[in-house]
């Protein structure tokens, strides 16, 4: 009789301090040695991790009322505009926002030294942040401007809300053009000078539950060094399968997560302001997701190693910016991590954009939390759409 476990059973074991927890990296080796059946019965939870620049991140801040009251119409935090068309003293600071006087790419490539991601990093570091707000004055909210200093401890709420994080898989970016380009995948040298990739491969959360059998709305996760939750699928959630021209399956691809958590209990080590040369500012986010080994199928997917997980190679010199198909094949994370790959017959040096040592530290930390009985699994109230949902991307006309 094949093993079937429930979230409740595993949580009971966690509470009694008897749950067996391993990291995804450890699971890969264990399954190679002992086989899926034995490992599924022995192990309760597998922990994953990723630490990577993740656009589509931001924080809702409820700043508190002034005396006299004020309906904020425009808000700046350390000169970075925050969106305040939500309510009188609520604002959303987005990771990619930059100050209005930033030179952007007018001096190419722009440096983007400070943006919304850096504001979030400063807030979570408990540093003082300069708040400026203007309003137009109403009968109930007469005040028209304020300039003051705040810290995360002074404001009522700070909620990290990232509408799209933890990409299931991502492109291996190369540049076939004849000039160096500056992208969100870093600096790509001309004529296939280098190749950048951006997931933690065998530790990457959504590559380890690729068909969304355990992750859904309500999954409790490691987020920014604290506890957070999966609250929905991410935007641009296209959880299909990568196929090559001959129909060969190169694994699951485009799932994403929408995640949320109390910023006040997070840690600056795991939410770092990030500057992509020539591209913009963003936030590097640490996420770890526990995967309960409910049955052998879940275990088999979670045990996929770097040699069994593939990234599509995409040209960012022409194909990507012009939204044209790119046919450079697939490469395994094992090859990417070796430091060189072959593209069009040429040997190309590789480098990650995603920190593997930090991803490992997240998986280890989450493992310890669960072992100590501090962290129970959140059973999803609804699973997320997977490849069977047949979701396709729309493109904008015009």
């Amino acid at each position: 009789m094949a093993v079937e476990k429930t979230f409740q059973e595993i949580n009971e074991r966690i509470k009694r301090g008897r749950a067996v927890v391993v990291t995804a990296e450890e699971l890969v080796t264990m399954v190679k040695e002992k086989g899926v059946t034995r490992v599924t019965s022995e192990v309760d939870v597998v922990t994953t991790g990723t630490f990577s620049p993740m656009c589509s991140s931001g924080a809702f801040l409820s700043l508190g009322h002034t005396k006299p009251r004020m309906k904020m119409h425009k808000v700046w935090l350390n000169d970075v505009p925050a969106y305040t068309g939500i309510a009188a003293v609520d604002a959303f600071i987005g990771a990619t926002e930059v100050p209005e006087d930033d030179p952007l790419n007018s001096v190419y490539p722009g440096e983007f030294r400070y943006g919304g991601g850096h504001v979030i990093h400063d807030l979570v570091s408990h540093k003082t942040v300069h708040l400026k707000a203007t309003g137009y004055g109403t009968d109930c909210y007469p005040r028209k401007e304020i300039e003051t200093e705040i810290t995360i401890d002074d404001i009522n709420e700070a909620i990290l809300f990232n509408p799209r994080n933890a990409y299931q898989n991502y492109n291996c970016a190369v540049n076939l053009s004849t000039r160096t380009i500056y992208t969100y995948m870093g600096m790509l040298k001309a004529n296939l000078g280098n190749a950048h990739y951006s997931t933690s491969g065998q530790l990457s959360p959504l590559l380890k539950d690729p068909t969304f059998k355990t992750i859904g709305v309500g999954t409790r996760i490691f987020l920014g060094g604290g506890i957070g939750y999966v609250v929905w699928n991410g935007t641009q959630h296209f959880p299909g399968v990568n196929l090559d021209d001959s129909g060969n399956n190169f694994g699951h691809a485009g799932g994403t997560l929408s995640v949320m958590g109390d910023l006040k209990q997070m840690n600056p080590r795991w939410l770092a302001g990030t500057s992509m040369l020539g591209y913009g500012a963003t936030l590097t986010v640490g996420i770890g997701i526990p995967i309960p080994l409910l049955n052998e199928e879940v275990c088999r997917f979670a045990a996929a190693g770097d040699d069994e997980l593939y990234a599509p190679i995409v040209d960012y010199g022409d194909a990507y910016p012009n939204f044209n198909p790119s046919n450079l094949g697939y490469v395994s994370y094992g090859e990417l991590k070796s430091g060189k790959i072959k593209v069009n017959g040429k040997e190309v040096p590789t480098a990650p954009m995603s920190s593997y040592p930090r991803a490992k530290e997240i998986a280890r930390t989450l493992k310890q939390w669960i072992q100590k009985g501090d962290f129970l699994l959140g059973e999803p109230v609804q699973l997320l759409p997977n490849a069977d949902a047949g979701i396709n991307a729309n493109t904008l006309k015009g």
Binding site: G186, T284, P352, M353
Partner: protein, 133 residues
């Protein structure tokens, strides 16, 4: 044998002379050119490492020709508090001074191999590579 890293500045009127040849031939110096640049005004800048018994005499010869000689005091520092070992710099660094230690995938910096080109200072997403004077 002593070794010294220097920054040389050549005025436009001497950039066409075989000065480095003289350093090798007459002063028996080992020359390792780390960086070379000629600007639109035809002034030249050369960063190089001189090794040999006669480095001081060689530098004196350069000064007599009117070449500006400064010792290389700039250096690049990896701020280990800021560096997250993402690795984005490791294929940008032209000399392999920044590299990944496998299989742990930790970014290491060997300052002996650094030629202070500053590419990493710009490319680092965490701004963890800093110039020190």
């Amino acid at each position: 044998m002593s070794s010294k890293k220097v920054v040389l500045r050549f005025a436009a009127d001497i950039t066409d002379q075989p000065i480095i040849y003289k350093l090798v031939k007459d002063y028996d110096l080992i020359i390792n050119i780390l960086k070379a640049d000629i600007n639109p005004q035809k002034e030249g800048t050369l960063v190089m490492e001189l090794t040999g018994d006669n480095t001081e005499q060689g530098i004196e010869y350069l000064r007599q020709l009117g070449v500006g000689v400064q010792s290389l005091t700039e250096e690049i520092i990896q701020n280990e508090e800021k560096c997250v070992s993402c690795g984005a710099c490791t294929d940008i660094c032209p000399t392999g001074a920044l590299y990944m230690e496998r299989p742990d995938m930790v970014v290491r910096f060997n300052s002996d191999r650094c030629v202070v080109c500053r590419l990493c200072v710009k490319a680092c997403p965490m701004k963890a590579m800093e110039v020190r004077f």
